[in-house]
Symmetry: C4
Subunit: 123 residues, 4 copies
């Protein structure tokens, strides 16, 4: 038996998909999820904006004993996705505990810049 | 009903607004706030310095179900703002729980550098 | 007597060894461990992937009153190691409390990019 | 009355002073301390290494209602300081609660790289 570890709700206030890329790498963000349990974790993402209602109900499944590094550009529902160049925030809810980290590669300039934070867990 | 999540007090010891920018992007810091509740959050910022008394009582409102990515250069009161090129620290107090992340883009050189931390919550 | 401080289990969801290096520095990741106790800490690493079963049972000892900055490229067992260019995640279990931080230097471009997070502790 | 907030003991496992600098900025690390109380905080630093005994008993005072961004290259005792180009770790103990963040600017290449973490608090 493998135990589910971590927390069920995580927050990332600073979401931003850079508009431009240059050089060898492409600007992107990843929401990196680790599911230590033996069963799949069912995630629901809510995307918050500065000037409009949240985009809720985006579902992603992470298999048991696996990690998944989810590109934020892949998140969407009913043809709606996260626009580039717009400040936003992320809430991740899971049916079982998981661990969530957020990283951004900014390749606006030809030399890339990196940032990463552990998401903030709700206890 | 949407619940307010996070904490009411957050700290960022390493504040610094770079003096210079070059290349395509402008050096800046953002205090990124997520308010998951249905009502506005009223924030009060206190700015601490190395060599003078704090600048207290800067107020910002973050609407319910919204994020706000606040440029530190926009923070001020009575004509006082945060000087560039000076080490400082930030305390954020909110009347309801919110989540706070801090990010800095340093574009002193033409290629930018990024850093980000989840602010430290008071429990 | 020196006390063991920190936690016994730590997680890093965003592991990635860049495939390329250029310029003066080499792309690498470090799992930085601090053992404040007077006795050695016995660590066991489990490496999680997106598309295959975990690589478990990698053992590393950190002497008492010492830090060790462990290159992830050095982690392996029975001839298996962490492949480059593949998203993965790390679980570190220790027999006594330690403190764990993760950092990555990406030198894909000639100018390097840095990111660092405190690993997420299980309490 | 101003309350002391945060924790009395903090850890930073990944310390490293880059050997080189080029371009406009100098490679350095900062241990950024915020003291929200009305009285001075008396800090004691212990520096841990990979291959030798710790360097303990380095004292720094942070005045009340102030932040101090301490360069690690300034830390020392009895003529001993932290060598450049060597992996190390930091323990900060304070007589009253403070908040501690760690940041590194790496200017080995002419374009700088930044990383920052909130130090890990002992509760």
């Amino acid at each position: 038996m493998y135990t589910a570890k971590g927390a069920k709700t995580w927050f990332i206030p600073d979401g931003y998909i850079p508009e431009k890329s240059s050089g060898e790498l492409t600007s992107h963000e990843s929401v990196c999820v680790l599911n230590t349990s033996g069963a799949a974790a069912r995630l629901r993402f809510t995307i918050y904006f500065e000037d409009r209602d949240p985009l809720a109900g985006i579902e992603v499944a992470v298999p048991g004993r696996r990690t998944m590094h989810i590109r934020t550009s892949s998140l969407g529902r009913d043809g709606m996705s996260i626009p580039v160049g717009v400040p936003y925030a992320i809430e991740v809810e899971s049916d079982i505990p998981v661990i969530v980290q957020y990283s951004r590669l900014d390749a606006t300039q030809s030399e890339n810049a990196l940032m990463s934070v552990m998401a903030y867990p709700l206890h």
